[in-house]
Structure formats: structure tokens, C-alpha cells
Symmetry: C2
Subunit: 411 residues, 2 copies
């Protein structure tokens, strides 16, 4: 018999979780739209050339590539994936958005404030809570070079999180240019900045000792390495000018932090975090992430990527994005057993199988629908008592019996 398991690293979603997911998605979408953003959609498939030519970093190693159709494949031992394949599944929503903007620019408002809600695909090693197909909810502002865009994105994302019942989360913020200036000033070369950041990104997991050990193993100078861990501990918004000269960078960081602090009304925190790196190669300015409670992963993340859209347009266009990790939100709310809003009341209308015309049963169900119930029409079984209790455990409010006892009996 053919296996009925879903593809490795993916999963089936059952009815109860779908109710929660649909509610959350509707909340997020409502908040995004009310703040002036517009939803768009792009296909899950993109041309392989576009995907491979992007700054996708590690994600390019995790591509799902689609084999060419309708042409003879060049099946030689030297053939590479790009010889055999022409399409791939998107690994994020930012690259498709950049392509979308270039393709549809003439018909879009400027600045363009985009909503994207959809699945992305990465062939990661399967592990708890990590899936190879997962949903992201992104907002992006294209065409605004000022930090107002960052402030608006953080405000909107925070409001969406609060709509879903999250409170007391922390927005961590850093600046790519600050990172690279500090690292260079410590004596690292321009080329070393990337490597240093990759190690620094592991601080949460391996601690400062681990960071020092890893950098020393890469033969970086001892003084430079300990300078770095010192910087991580000491640098703060109060002493930024001791560490960097670029006043624009300092200005951007402090302006966003101050504005978001006022907007937060103490429902959440924003804090500068020099060890915040964010993996994606394409960020050029401010970067941010939301952490929540004891969970060792971020529930949202984003940043400015001013050099990406220019690859697909004739002109360079500034852009910033913020993405909510939908699967993580769902996971946390399920773990916290958080019943958001109530879903529609449901009832069972039982009928006897040989009871004449079924359209009368449907008509009887319509009466209950007008009272707000979702009505499930179910044929009675011999073991009726057992059948009733099965439904009482499935979240139904109650039941009635067609043509016999039409009063609703609550479970």
C-alpha cells in the first residue's frame, strides 16, 4: 500500500488547528489593511535563475527545484541542477516582492505598502517546530528611504501581535552599518565582517566564550576578538558615539527606538541589541526581530534592504520589510492553550437514514443556521448514545433530532 504520510518535513493540518489559523490570519490581515497596507500575491514558483541570482545565502542550499518539462534533458554526469531545472519554490516572500514590484510598478501606489501572506519552502533538516513548508505574514514599504518606514512597520507588526493576545514581547533592533563600522574599527578587515557576524549570531547559543573560541580558531588576533566581546557587553544607546562616527546611523537607531517607545505605551519593549545579526545577506540598514517569553526563537523579523529591488528595476528603490513567523505564533498559542475569540457555535442535527426526503433535513438545518449555528447533518447510528458522546467531545455545542425531538439539547 502507498504511504499516506505527508512529504518529509511537512505536515497535515487538522480541523481544530485550521479554525485557529484562519482566525489569526484574518486578524493579521485586518490590522495590516487598516494601517494602509495592500495585499498582493505571487506564485509559489519562481524562475530558478531569479532564485539562484539572489542574495538568499544559506537558503539557496535548501531550494526545491523543479525539473524541466517537455524538453529533452541533458543527462550527462556533468549536468547541474540548473541544467536540469528551470523553476524553484520560493524560500521567502521578499525576493518575489522585489520581482513583483519591478514587474507591476506602473500600477502601484508610491510608496507601495505591501501585505503578503503565504507559504515559503526550505529543505531544512527536519526538527521539532521547523517545517519545510511554512507560512509567513509580511509587510513591506517600498520607496521610503526615511526611518518613518521602519517605525510604521514596527508599529503595525506590534499591533498585529497585540491583536492576537501577545503582550510584553521585546523588539530587538540593530543597524548593519553600525555592526560593520564597529567590527572594522576593532581591526577586522572589510572582508572579515561577514564571517565575524556569522559567529556573533551564535552568541545566544554558545555564549561569549564560544564566540571567542570560534573566532580564535579562525586565526583572528586575540586583542581584536576580546575587543569584540567587550563591545557586545558595553555598547548601548547611551554610548554609541564612543563606538562609531557615523552620526546618520546613530540618528536612525535612536529615532526609531524613541518613537517606538512612545507608541508602545509600555505594552512591549524595544531595545538595542548589538548581537542581533539576522542571517539574510541582503539587509543594508536597520534590522529588527521580536522575541517573546521563554521561547528561544524570534516570532517576527525584518530589516531594510535598499539594494535588492534595483537588481530587477532600472533604478535603485529603498525598501524595508517585517515578517511574522506564522507557524511560531500558532505553536505558542496552542502551547499556551490560548482560546482567542470564539469560533462559530456548531451543532449536530441527527436524522434517521430511511426517513424520506433529505431536502427536508437540509431545510430543518437552515432554521438552526439562522440562529448562528454551523449545522452538521449526520445519519443516526444504532448505537446512538455512543454517537452522541463522540460529537460532544469534538467541540459541538449540542444536538437535535430531525422530525422527532427538534429542541436543541446542549452537551
Amino acid at each position: 500500500m502507498i504511504s499516506s504520510n505527508p512529504v518529509r518535513g511537512t505536515r497535515d493540518i487538522l480541523p481544530q488547528e485550521m479554525v485557529l489559523r484562519d482566525q489569526l490570519e484574518a486578524m493579521i490581515l485586518k490590522r495590516y489593511r487598516s494601517q494602509g497596507f495592500n495585499r498582493i500575491e505571487t506564485p509559489v514558483m519562481e524562475n530558478l535563475e531569479l532564485l539562484l541570482g539572489s542574495d538568499g545565502g544559506e537558503n539557496l542550499k535548501m531550494l526545491f527545484s523543479i525539473i524541466k518539462r517537455g524538453e529533452k534533458l541533458n543527462l550527462t554526469p556533468e549536468a547541474s541542477v540548473s541544467d536540469l531545472c528551470d523553476l524553484g519554490l520560493r524560500f521567502d516572500l521578499t525576493l518575489p516582492l522585489s520581482r513583483f514590484y519591478a514587474n507591476n510598478q506602473a500600477e502601484l501606489e508610491m510608496p507601495f505598502k505591501a501585505i503578503q501572506i503565504g507559504n515559503v519552502f526550505r529543505a531544512e533538516r527536519p526538527q521539532k517546530g521547523r517545517f519545510r513548508s511554512f507560512k509567513q505574514c509580511d509587510i513591506d514599504i517600498i520607496g521610503d528611504p526615511s526611518v518613518n518606514a521602519e517605525i510604521e512597520l514596527i508599529d503595525t507588526t506590534a499591533k498585529a501581535l497585540m491583536d492576537m493576545g501577545f503582550c510584553g514581547f521585546t523588539v530587538k533592533i540593530n543597524h548593519r552599518k553600525l555592526l560593520s563600522e564597529v567590527i572594522r574599527k576593532l581591526g577586522f578587515s572589510e572582508e572579515a565582517v561577514g564571517t565575524v557576524c556569522i559567529t556573533l549570531d551564535k552568541l545566544d547559543k554558545i555564549g561569549s566564550e564560544g564566540v571567542e573560541k570560534e573566532l580564535l580558531s579562525k586565526d583572528y588576533d586575540h586583542a581584536m576578538v576580546s575587543g569584540l566581546t567587550k563591545a557586545v557587553t558595553e555598547i548601548s544607546t547611551d554610548n554609541l558615539s564612543d563606538w562609531v562616527d557615523d552620526e546618520l546611523v546613530i540618528g536612525e537607531l535612536t529615532e526609531v527606538i524613541d518613537a517606538v517607545k512612545r507608541l508602545s505605551k509600555n505594552n512591549f519593549t524595544i531595545e538595542f541589541d548589538f548581537s542581533l545579526i539576522r542571517g539574510m545577506g541582503y539587509y543594508t540598514g536597520l534590522i529588527f526581530e521580536v522575541s517573546y517569553g521563554p521561547y528561544g526563537y524570534s516570532i517576527a523579523g525584518g530589516g531594510r534592504y535598499d539594494n535588492m529591488i534595483g537588481k530587477y528595476c532600472k533604478t535603485s528603490v529603498p525598501a524595508v520589510g517585517f515578517s511574522i513567523g506564522f507557524e511560531r505564533i500558532v505553536g505558542i498559542l496552542q502551547e499556551e492553550n490560548n482560546q482567542l475569540t470564539h469560533s462559530q457555535k456548531k451543532m449536530v442535527l441527527f436524522y434517521e437514514a430511511a426517513q424520506g426526503s433529505f431536502d427536508q433535513v437540509i431545510a430543518a438545518g437552515e432554521q438552526w443556521q439562522t440562529q448562528g449555528y454551523g449545522v452538521n447533518l449526520v445519519a443516526m447510528k444504532k448505537k446512538f448514545g455512543k454517537q452522541i458522546s463522540a460529537y460532544s467531545e469534538k467541540g459541538y455545542a449540542g444536538f437535535a433530532v430531525f422530525g422527532r425531538d427538534e429542541a436543541l439539547k446542549m452537551f
Copy 2:
């Protein structure tokens, strides 16, 4: 520069269409849930073995197959797609549902009434109105062998269509067993039934003459062929017993037609159509389709497939499904310029770029949000008049200017 076009045969969806699509999807989902169905979701990728082992018919020639990752490919000239690939994109929602049911059976209500809304993928030759990635909205009842399942699906689908403003559509219905009995009684062999059906399916396009011509060119007997076209013209619900002996088949057809007629309250029509075939190989009983107005394609279709789920479970399980072609619905409503419900009112709140802290602009926007507006915060440009008229054409209700003239001026 890298092309910014979406993948051939797919398309980008712009904000205005997304508003319509989201409204329609919400309407369909609400109706389905209120009639006792439960939404589930499966991944867009399935194991290639599952896809290729299905009764997918023509769709198997249009698969998007995903190349194996992380293992050395067997790149010899003899290698087939199934040697090189391990996954594929789903071509419909019925096969994944059957797998889902087999995989999650223990946790599902019985009978299980499923909702699936999602995209499917077929590498068809691109043509107007046909896409390689398109959305379907399916309901299925698993575990009910009686025609009550068909009646419930037709009733629910018709109600969803009426919710979206469709009226006067026609539900065409036929029975696979009736088709094969009539064709065999005319003298065709058991093996010929499939071929005859493929030709008969073209009746709409090529007429009876075309059907006769094609069958004669396949060397079928002249008397048998003219008997078939005669059957198409003469067979009706009034004379079914003249054509077939199987009373169960006649009973099923007439019971569904009678019940749906009563439920329709003359808002739509149901009619027997002996030339209705439906392509998919897996149907075993009643089949149905919805046609609407002058459009030469169906807007919904489905049928009973009692032999499919058994391929993935230990036991045979009866099942029926009905699928709304979402892209066609959207296309028709756009063509008819049908404004369904009103979308959220939107306004622009302009601000001067160098006007102090941006969080005050956001706070001013919140005031308008409480009055139900979606608020787009936009920096004023020098050519303000031109900027205003650009937004007035984009469907905004009006605008205000932060800190200067805060009354809302309607467009």
C-alpha cells in the same frame, strides 16, 4: 538585468483583485463552515510515487516534479523523471484529501466533511483564462454511501455560489454507471467505454456530427455510432428505464434531481445531461458540473469516487466531492464588474516629511482608524495637487493633512 516576469503560465495578483479574492474566499469558507464542514490543509508538495500512482489521467502529463536533494543523482541517458525526482506539486485537492484521510482517520469525525481551499498546479499549455497555478475550493463528504452526500454537496455549493451573487446557473448531472451501461448496450465493448466517453466529452465543441466523425474514424460500427448520438438526443429522466436496467442508478439520479429541485426554490436549475463526462478517471457514480450564463466552461464540478481512498487505507471508504473553480468565479465577477460587498473605506493621511516625530502622525492615524478607515500615512510631495489626484483615482475615500487641516476631505 534579470527578468521580472512571473513564471510562464502564472501571474501576479494586484491589490484591487486581492480585495475581491479575499472577500470571495471568506464568503465561501463561511458558507461551508455553517453547513457543518471542517477546513483542513495539506502541503502543496506530495511524494511523486503517490501522484504517479493515482488515477490522475491527463494531469499526470502536466506534473511539476521536484528534483532530489542531497543525494548523488543517477545521471545516465536512461534516467527517467521518477529516477531524478522524489516530490511533485499536487494537481488537484482530491488525491491529497484521500491521503490525508488515510493518515489522520483516527482523529476525524465520521462521516468526515472536509473543506479545502488552496492552489493546484498543472503545466498546461498557457492560454487565456488558464493558469498553471490556480485556486480551488473543495468540499468532500467521506464515509456516506447514500445520495444524501451528493444532495448536501450540491446544496452547499449552490448556496455558496448564490452568496457570491450567482443566480440562474445550471447544475448538470449524470451517472458514470448509466453512461457505461448505455454505451455497452449499444454494442460497444467494455474496453471501448473510455474512448467513447473521451469523444462524447467534446460534444459541446464539435457537435454530434463531429462526435460521429471521430468515432467512425476510430472504426466503430456505423449503427453503434448513430445509436449513440440518438441516445444523446433522446435520453431523459422521463425515459431512463427504456435505456438502462439498473434501477439503483435510475433511483440515485432521480432522487438527487428531485431533492435539489425542491431545495433550489427556482433560483437555479438542475438537469440531467447524458453528455456530461468529466475528465478525471476516478469517478465511480454520480458526476455533476455547474454552468453559468454564456461562459463556455464550468464554474464548479465534482462527483463520487468510491474506489480512491481504499488505495491508502485498509478498507474501502465511499466519498463524494464538489469543487468551485475559484479563478473562473473571480474572472466572471471582474468581467461583470460586480462589486460584491464594499471593502473597507480607505483614506490618506498626508504629513510633511520634516515635521518632527513620526509617532505623532501614527497616533493621528489611529483616530481615523477608530472611525473604520484604513489609514495610509504618506509623506507630502512638492506637487501636492498631483499627488492628491493620484490617490483619488486609487479608490481612496478622501484625505486629511496632519497638523494642518485635519478635517477629512472626501474625493
